[in-house]
């Protein structure tokens, strides 16, 4: 049970942390239409994270005699308990960096959910099927922006290439399973993420080709997020996120 809960929390945390990042664009986007567009994605992500947190809370409450909620899971766990992918906590940077981060993550989510909708766990299968529709749009939207920036102006090309180099080391973690993921795979609950790598790689290559940019050579990959070992950035995200819940314990909002 603990393995399953960890697995779900990892899915929830990644979505929440990226929500927290993307939401910072709201009111500050490069043009009104795109401000609205990225915020739609943000709303999808927070919706997905809530579905996962609620499911995790249900399992925890059923298996231990506690009363956790989606909010206590999101607001009262510490830096070392968060299991989000390192990719999702990386800074927004410029529009190029945000786009590349979204694109890498959305393509990964797409293949993950595509498989997960056939999970033996009905609840996870249901969340995946619903989320897959949202993510399909995210892949299109972010992919088109990768192409525009790559094949746009000299400046945009330079910026997106820089963003790719910056974020590339955080992509390997998506396909390296932790112990709790491996056990979920053998239980028929989780897709085998090692098998997603080729599809992810192909999709990214295709889009990059159209964007006239090249893939970095496989270099050293950072890991640890899924086990609670993060970059220094996460602490700041959590102090913002959790400020009110920590300041006024047990209050209802």
């Amino acid at each position: 049970m603990e393995q399953l809960i960890n697995y779900i929390l990892q899915l929830a945390d990644s979505n929440l942390i990226l929500t927290q990042r993307n939401a910072a664009w709201c009111g500050h986007g490069p043009i009104l239409e795109q401000d609205i567009a990225i915020t739609n994605i943000t709303l999808d992500l927070i919706g997905q994270s809530r579905n996962f947190y609620q499911y995790a809370a249900k399992l925890i409450n059923e298996s231990t005699d506690t009363k956790v909620t989606e909010d206590s899971l999101a607001y009262l766990r510490t830096e070392r308990e968060f299991k989000n992918l390192l990719l999702t906590e990386q800074e927004n940077g410029d529009w190029a960096q945000t786009i590349v981060r979204q694109f890498f993550y959305s393509v990964y989510q797409y293949f993950l959910y595509e498989k997960m909708q056939h999970s033996r766990d009905e609840q996870l299968a249901g969340i995946a099927a619903k989320s897959l529709k949202e993510v399909t749009y995210h892949v299109t939207w972010s992919g088109e922006w990768v192409i525009r920036l790559g094949d746009g102006t000299a400046e945009s090309k330079e910026r997106i290439e820089k963003a790719i180099i910056e974020l590339w080391p955080y992509t390997g973690e998506m396909f390296l399973p932790e112990a709790y993921e491996i056990s979920m795979v053998s239980a028929g609950i989780a897709p085998d993420i090692t098998l997603l790598k080729n599809e992810w790689y192909k999709k990214v290559t295709d889009i990059f080709e159209e964007a006239t940019i090249s893939l970095p050579k496989d270099g050293f990959m950072q890991t640890g997020g899924k086990n609670g070992v993060h970059t220094e950035k996460l602490g700041y995200i959590l102090s913002d996120l959790q400020y009110l819940q920590r300041t006024y314990p047990n209050a209802t909002w």
């Binding site: 609205i36 209050a251 909002w253």
Partner: protein, 315 residues
């Protein structure tokens, strides 16, 4: 047709409640007034995203966070509907945005006040959006068609904003002592500025007549303000909170609540740029626009390349 015939035909339409549409003849002053008014309304929506955006990262629950994100995003949508309406009068959005950034065009001063605590999200929703809705409901019947339609669309979405604000204050007012204090403090700070949103007293407005005659505006500042106060007095009771005005009293004869004197010095100071956040808000907007320039250029460049490729294929 002579100019005065056109003017008469125009006024006849307005008197008969026939909407003016983009390609119809209209007096220059009517066009200018509408462009100014609609664009300032649009700017208010866009700048209005900032004080609330300030609390998105710190929203105290996932539900509140999702609601707040959706709400602030709606304001972007409203700004967009309004810019679109103004563009039908022949002024491009980039021109309007330049005017905002240069300080030539204004936006509602209310957004130059800071949002200091979480309770401000509730108070802004209840009072600021509440005041805005009264205006926007009136503007659903304004004489310029595209502006009226934009307001209809806005009003459909906006009632969610006021309701979520009020509901979030209700939760605070039923909460801990600290939450109750936070709630009252926010109401105290936002009450007077929201009354100022309706603008100067009618007795001091010199140019209300023309825009009433053109049915751009259909109620005076004081009428709307009074309507707002009468509603808020009832609503605050449900919250178990008070409004910070010792002079609020039911006036049987008028059938309305009397209220205390508004601090117009404060109002004009904020209008003139001395509000706590005037500089910060405008800087944030300018920054987003400047930082976004290369993005917009890249998309244009790519669209041009693609169109050229298409042409070559056809040839």
């Amino acid at each position: 047709m002579q100019l005065h015939d056109l003017e008469k035909a125009f006024q006849d339409k307005i008197d008969n409640e026939i909407k003016i549409e983009p390609k119809d003849w209209m007096p220059d002053a009517y066009r200018k007034t509408n462009v100014r008014q609609i664009s300032q309304h649009a700017h208010s929506e866009i700048v209005g995203m900032l004080p609330e955006g300030n609390w998105i990262s710190r929203a105290p629950s996932l539900k509140r966070k999702a609601i707040l994100i959706a709400k602030v995003q709606d304001e972007a949508g409203h700004g967009l509907y309004l810019y679109s309406a103004a563009e039908t009068l022949g002024t491009g959005r980039d021109q309007m945005i330049d005017d905002l950034h240069s300080g030539k065009a204004k936006y509602s001063s209310i957004f130059n006040y800071p949002t200091l605590t979480w309770a401000d999200m509730g108070a802004v929703g209840w009072l600021v959006d509440g005041a805005a809705i009264l205006n926007q409901v009136m503007l659903c019947r304004t004489s310029y068609g595209p502006y009226a339609r934009a307001n209809v669309r806005i009003c459909k979405e906006e009632s969610f904003h006021q309701r979520q604000g009020f509901e979030s204050l209700m939760v605070l007012s039923n909460g801990t002592a600290e939450q109750k204090a936070m709630c009252q403090d926010a109401i105290d700070r936002w009450w007077w500025p929201s009354l100022m949103m309706f603008g100067p007293k009618d007795s001091e407005s010199t140019n209300n007549d023309q825009s009433m005659k053109w049915k751009i505006k259909r109620k005076t500042n004081d009428e709307l303000r009074q309507q707002f106060i009468d509603m808020a007095v009832q609503q605050v009771k449900v919250l178990g909170m008070t409004l910070p005005d010792a002079d609020l009293k039911w006036n049987e004869e008028r059938g309305h609540y009397d209220f205390g004197e508004i601090n117009w010095d404060e109002f004009w100071n904020v209008v003139k740029g001395n509000g706590q956040c005037n500089k910060q808000r405008l800087e944030a907007r300018k920054n987003a626009h400047t930082e976004g320039a290369w993005v917009r250029e890249a998309a244009t460049a790519y669209a041009n390349k693609k169109a050229a490729k298409q042409l070559r294929k056809v040839a």
